[in-house]
Amino acid sequence: MIWTDLQTALSREGYVASDDLAVALQLALALERPLLLEGAAGVGKTEIARTLSAVKNTKLIRLQCYEGLDAAQAIYEWNYQRQLLSIRAAAEDGETGASVEARIFSRDFLMERPLLAAITQETPPVLLIDEIDRADEEFEAYLLEVLSDFQVSVPELGTIIATSKPIVILTSNSTRDLSDALRRRCLYNYVEYPDRATELAILKARCPEVEARLAEQVVGFIQKLREEELEKTPGIAEMLDFAAALMGLGIADLTENPAVLHSTLTTLLKTQSDQAHITPEVAGRIAGKAA
């Protein structure tokens, strides 16, 4: 598959990828390397993984990172409660120690967490490691080890070797600088806010019922709004919400009713100061320019 095919396949699933991104994805698939995506919130970094799993018709395994994430939550954990019950039951049945031990430290008692689950699938899944910048640096180091060796060792059980290499997508909002080692292991793409044409294509793919004229206006409005000084710049999801809100209210033209337009801005402006900043007049002016 060449990258343009991948791009078409993605767009068939409703994801409009830029050329850079499509090539990066294609290379990640071909070279079996993790792909690190950075970019502002709401540009569709997470969505890529979801769409890719749909295109490849495979499972999406997601690991949401947060501060304090440790191996027990990311890789595996023994099911202690079940082991305990098992020991109790065995004691009543008079089972010997060795056989109990062999039983309670088997795969049945092992709870797979996302990383282990990802490498033990039959077919290669898409492994999404979301917001890696939120995890601690120690976890990053561990992650590197798993991603380079594709094996996990469980002391009681031995080494579990990957049955399939997952397609790994990492996303980051750069709240912290990632380590060089991680960056070097990954292919990289910085996802920008889409340009006008791309965003229009996204809107068309996601909300085909929006009329062409309104779609033009919505996209123009959002693009202009992103140029304003806002605390939280509206992303693509917000744009889709906005379009859906306008559809729901039966508005066919952004400029016709500034009051209604302003009331729909709740889908776009998510802080109090942003809402204060974009008054009905400002909104009307932006809509006028965009039209």
């Binding site: 290379l27 409660q81 750069s174 070097r184 910085y190």
Partner: protein, 393 residues
């Protein structure tokens, strides 16, 4: 600029050229190694490498690792592959250890020629970059402003060592901040249920020993902003040494300089060699000793970097005299916004040490209501004395 570089006929084919390109990137400060050359070659075989846009995209995905590099990549690509049809004599240049010997040790995306990508001294257009020397290096340092002052003249290594000590103690005094999540601890306030049950397996399911968990103290992150405008230049020595010391004491520290503009110097200060770090910092501090626009600089900080790097665990230290040439209301607004991120704001003002000082400068007056602490600091001794105060913060 679209004409491709011609290569000398005796060159040993595409792989040598790609290796040359990787070396070219490395010379320009990108963090790429031998492994990348290999990956780049396999990447090129996956796309239609005859077309320059496809080759460009493939190499981009492989070779860059952060946003800054992403922005520079096109210029670097052009200067190597699209060098106006110029003949490139030797694709693999001899290793030059003088230029960028810290590729593997530094976090800096920019290498030594900081100006080429840093916003401080970048030439405005990449268009004429290919016209530079035959090796296609982006030597922005050559265009260095002559009136720029070298901060190395101001700071001596001993001072940095001393400042490092002070900074380390200050960092330690800021340590306390309880985490929300509990982790296993010897003396905890809660029982660590999972661990207890796990341990009880050894005793046949009887939880003989109760294990505990507690909320650990997490260190606070210091974010330092230093004013290097003309009015501050007498104090710059102390503060710059302090910044360098802070960074060496705790690598999570984040540092910025501002005068009429704000520059992030964290990457430069991470250099292992402290004097080289100061040298790199001075490259970025274009306009050092000029006017000051505190309000807009703080505004820019809160609107951009603070969103990513400042949270409830941060302590923002502003080192400035508060003499501002812009609207003082901007300072108030910016600090108010900053405080909403949950951080503590400390303002160190060298003038406050004067006996009859009152914060009359309009900027300072606007800032006062938003500060958690407002202190004097002229010398390292003063900074060291802050330690006890900071504990109470």
């Amino acid at each position: 600029m679209t004409r491709a570089t011609k290569f000398a006929a005796r060159d040993s084919g595409p792989s040598a050229r790609v290796a040359g390109f990787i070396a070219h990137l490395r010379e320009n400060g990108l963090r790429v190694g031998v492994a990348e050359a290999h990956v780049a070659l396999s990447a090129l075989s996956e796309v239609n490498a005859i077309r320059d846009d496809e080759a460009r995209r493939a190499l981009r995905a492989v070779c860059i690792g952060c946003k800054e590099e992403s922005e520079r990549f096109d210029d670097l690509f052009n200067s190597y592959w699209m060098d106006m049809g110029r003949v490139r004599k030797k694709v693999v240049p001899a290793p030059s250890n003088s230029f960028n010997d810290d590729v593997h040790s530094s976090r800096d995306a920019q290498g030594q020629d900081v100006g080429a990508s840093g916003d401080a001294t970048a030439p405005d257009s990449g268009g004429d970059l290919a016209k530079s020397e035959g090796t296609g290096k982006l030597i922005a340092t050559k265009q260095r402003n002559l009136n720029r002052r070298d901060l190395r003249d101001l700071v001596r290594p001993e001072e940095i060592a001393e400042a490092e000590e002070v900074a380390r103690r200050i960092g330690a005094s800021l340590r306390e901040r309880r985490s929300r999540r509990r982790i296993a601890a010897r003396k905890g306030d809660r029982i660590h249920f999972r661990k207890t049950i796990r341990r009880s397996l050894a005793t046949g399911g009887e939880p003989l020993r109760l294990l505990r968990k507690a909320r650990p103290d997490r260190s606070r992150k210091i974010v330092a902003l230093c004013d290097v405008s003309g009015s501050m230049s007498v104090y710059a020595q102390v503060f710059l040494a302090f910044l360098a010391g802070l960074m060496r004491a705790d690598k999570d520290t984040d540092a910025y300089l501002f005068h009429t503009r704000l520059v992030r110097i964290t990457e430069a200060l991470r250099d292992k060699d402290s004097m080289r770090a100061i040298g790199r910092m001075s490259l970025m501090a274009d306009g050092f000793g000029g006017g000051s626009k505190i309000g807009p600089s703080l505004q820019r900080f809160t609107d951009s970097y603070a969103r990513r790097f400042v949270n409830g665990r941060s302590v923002v230290v502003i080192m400035s005299d508060g003499y501002d040439t812009s609207d003082p209301a901007l300072i108030g607004n910016a600090l108010e916004k900053l405080r909403k991120r949950g951080c503590k704001v400390i303002w160190l003002n060298p003038l406050k040490g004067w006996s009859d000082y009152t914060p009359v400068a309009a900027g300072m007056a606007a800032a006062l209501p938003h500060l958690d602490m407002f202190k004097a600091a002229n010398t390292l001794g003063d900074l060291a004395a802050l330690e006890t105060e900071l504990v109470r913060l």
